[in-house]
């Protein structure tokens, strides 16, 4: 019996070693594109168009970045992008938390119906509603070349998935906490702000991160709603930049790498909470 256990432990150890090796190889493959883009940003164009290509630049030309920044207004684009993203992320996180709280804790008529409307909208493709919304914002409300059509929708619940995520998370928190507060005379809003919100911090960070990524990637709506150069976001700016340069790949790769940075930083800051946040919600249905 003891021997059996020992051999089992050994088996387990071997399996873990194999897993580790496979993971290392796989992650090298997954990282390769990013490395290749980064290494290209440090090469001269002459070196880029050499055959065979090399994995490391001969000389690491960090000066490429300085040169690129001279004609690629990265900081302006970043500022514009953040002007859209920050309020939207804030609004989305707060309204999703409020919605999730109501679904998780409060009793009210029509709860089931509203909840299924909410979950149903998760299945509804966003592309479908694009044109009516475009007409509403630009014709109905006259918001042409404005950031508001990109920001305001996020103040309306932050998306069904996020409401659902917050609701699931809140249901894991013992109700006794709220009840104790109720006895102390706290209203529902007080409970939400002073008891629930501190307890679901990691879920709120997950929601914020998901919203950030969603907006970061939403090229189509940015193209539709933004017209003037001075309002371009990183995504539109980058595509313009590439269109104007055609084959100066070294500069294009510099610009590409620069636009990688904000997302990565934001992710690394919230990373710690991330998986635990999603695990805690119990994603069971």
């Amino acid at each position: 019996m003891a021997r059996n256990l020992k051999s089992k432990k050994r088996q387990e150890r071997i399996a873990n070693h194999v897993t580790l090796v496979v993971l290392m190889v796989l992650s090298a493959i997954v990282m390769l594109p990013i490395w290749w883009i980064f290494r290209s940003s440090l090469m001269s164009n002459g070196e880029l168009f050499e055959w065979p290509p090399t994995f490391l630049p001969k000389r690491w030309l960090f000066s490429n970045y300085k040169k690129t920044l001279e004609f690629y207004p990265f900081w302006k684009y970043l500022k514009n992008t953040m002007t859209i993203i920050l309020p939207a992320v804030l609004g989305g996180t707060i309204t999703a938390t409020m919605g999730g709280y109501a679904f998780a804790r409060l009793r009210f008529p029509g709860k089931k119906f509203l909840f299924s409307l909410c979950i149903g909208s998760m299945l509804l493709p966003t592309m479908v509603t694009l044109i009516p919304l475009y007409i509403m914002w630009t014709r109905g409300l006259n918001l042409v070349d404005s950031y508001l059509p990109l920001i305001l929708p996020y103040f309306c619940g932050g998306g069904a998935f996020n409401i659902f995520l917050i609701r699931q998370f809140i249901s894991t928190i013992p109700r006794e906490l709220d009840e104790a507060a109720t006895i102390d005379g706290a209203g529902h809003f007080r409970i939400l702000v002073s008891i629930i919100m501190p307890a679901i911090k990691s879920a709120m960070i997950v929601v914020a991160l998901l919203l950030f990524i969603q907006m970061w990637n939403d090229l189509l709506q940015q193209i539709i709603y933004i017209n003037s150069d001075s309002k371009f976001t990183i995504a539109i700016g980058l595509s313009q930049f590439k269109g104007s340069l055609k084959s100066d790949w070294s500069a294009i790769m510099c610009a590409t790498c620069m636009s990688f940075v904000p997302g990565v930083v934001f992710y690394l800051l919230g990373q710690k909470y991330f998986v635990e946040g999603i695990v805690m919600t119990g994603m069971k249905n």
Partner: protein, 297 residues
């Protein structure tokens, strides 16, 4: 007294839900109705819309030169992307679920592509796919395969774009991982005591417990990928020819480049129906393979 308490509770609830309700009604369900309504008119953004009934749809299915190809390209892309990213992310999540050193590091690494802005990803990959000096043709040349036009040939463009989607599927990995960690330990221990080996435990316990998560991921990635538009916007402009002219991209071109707003609405509605059919099929078949632990919450 209790009645009043309940009333105040309901009032708070509606207040909390007000933004979401506005979002659902004004930004989701009304536009859904509007897209169908508008598709029954002829309207190019100016003047008074003209009632044409189902003519837009008739034209789409009978005379539109791009529509059928767009549906094929979309379904083909979605199929490759969904299958590829499901297999890839389930496999990676399985590996990451083991007790290995630096797990957090690996997890972060596989998720990383997902947090990069789409535009930058596609531009970066267009350089990797470059025919003469790109990474992929270099790697192929190392094993003696002749140069391939990845983006430039109508045969390769869809698989090439799908590969990028697979690379970007870090979010699925995280959700799978969360699912694995919610598989009840008790089942595992019971099976172990009964002498089930690792392989049996995986197929008889882990996978059945995971089916709801698999279903969720499958559904969400199907819906997302059937709406695909970004690669065409950022990289291919629907080309070469119209081989990557996806349904959503076609809608975009008609609506925002040619100003045919109501005609584009018909495309949007067809796209809605297409996704609806796939969703229904998935729901209907799920009963046969989805494991339920009995009773929903």
């Amino acid at each position: 007294m209790t009645n009043q308490l309940l009333k105040s509770e309901a009032r708070t609830a509606y207040l909390c839900l007000l933004p979401s309700i506005i979002g659902l009604v004004v930004l989701t369900y009304i536009p859904l109705a509007a897209v169908f309504g508008l598709s029954l008119f002829r309207w190019e953004g100016v003047g008074v819309p003209q009632w044409v009934g189902l003519k837009n749809y008739v034209r789409l299915f009978s005379r539109d030169p791009y529509f059928k190809d767009a549906i094929c390209a979309t379904v083909y892309f979605a199929f490759l992307s969904v299958v590829g990213s499901m297999v890839y992310s389930l496999f990676v999540a399985l590996l990451l679920n083991r007790q290995i050193p630096a797990r957090g590091f690996f997890r972060a690494l596989f998720y990383l592509p997902y947090v990069l802005p789409a535009m930058a990803v596609y531009i970066g990959w267009s350089w990797l796919y470059e025919t003469n000096f790109g990474l992929f043709n270099y790697l192929l040349s190392l094993v003696g395969i002749k140069k391939v036009m990845f983006i430039g040939s109508s045969k390769m463009v869809i698989p090439s774009l799908a590969l990028i989607t697979v690379w970007l599927s870090g979010n699925l990995i995280v959700i799978f991982l969360a699912g694995f960690q919610n598989v009840p330990r008790i089942y595992m221990e019971a099976a172990e005591t009964d002498g089930a080996n690792a392989w049996q435990r995986f197929w008889r316990i882990t996978i059945p417990c995971m089916t709801p998560i698999i279903f969720y991921n499958l559904l969400m990635s199907l819906i997302t990928n059937l709406q695909v538009v970004t690669p065409a916007l950022a990289l291919t402009n629907g080309g070469p020819g119209n081989s990557s002219c996806f349904l959503s991209y076609l809608m975009y071109v008609y609506a925002f480049r040619n100003g045919k707003l109501s005609y584009a609405c018909a495309i949007a509605f067809v796209s809605f129906l297409l996704i609806g059919v796939f969703t229904l099929v998935l729901f209907a078949t799920s009963k046969t393979w989805m494991f339920s632990a009995g009773g929903d919450d």
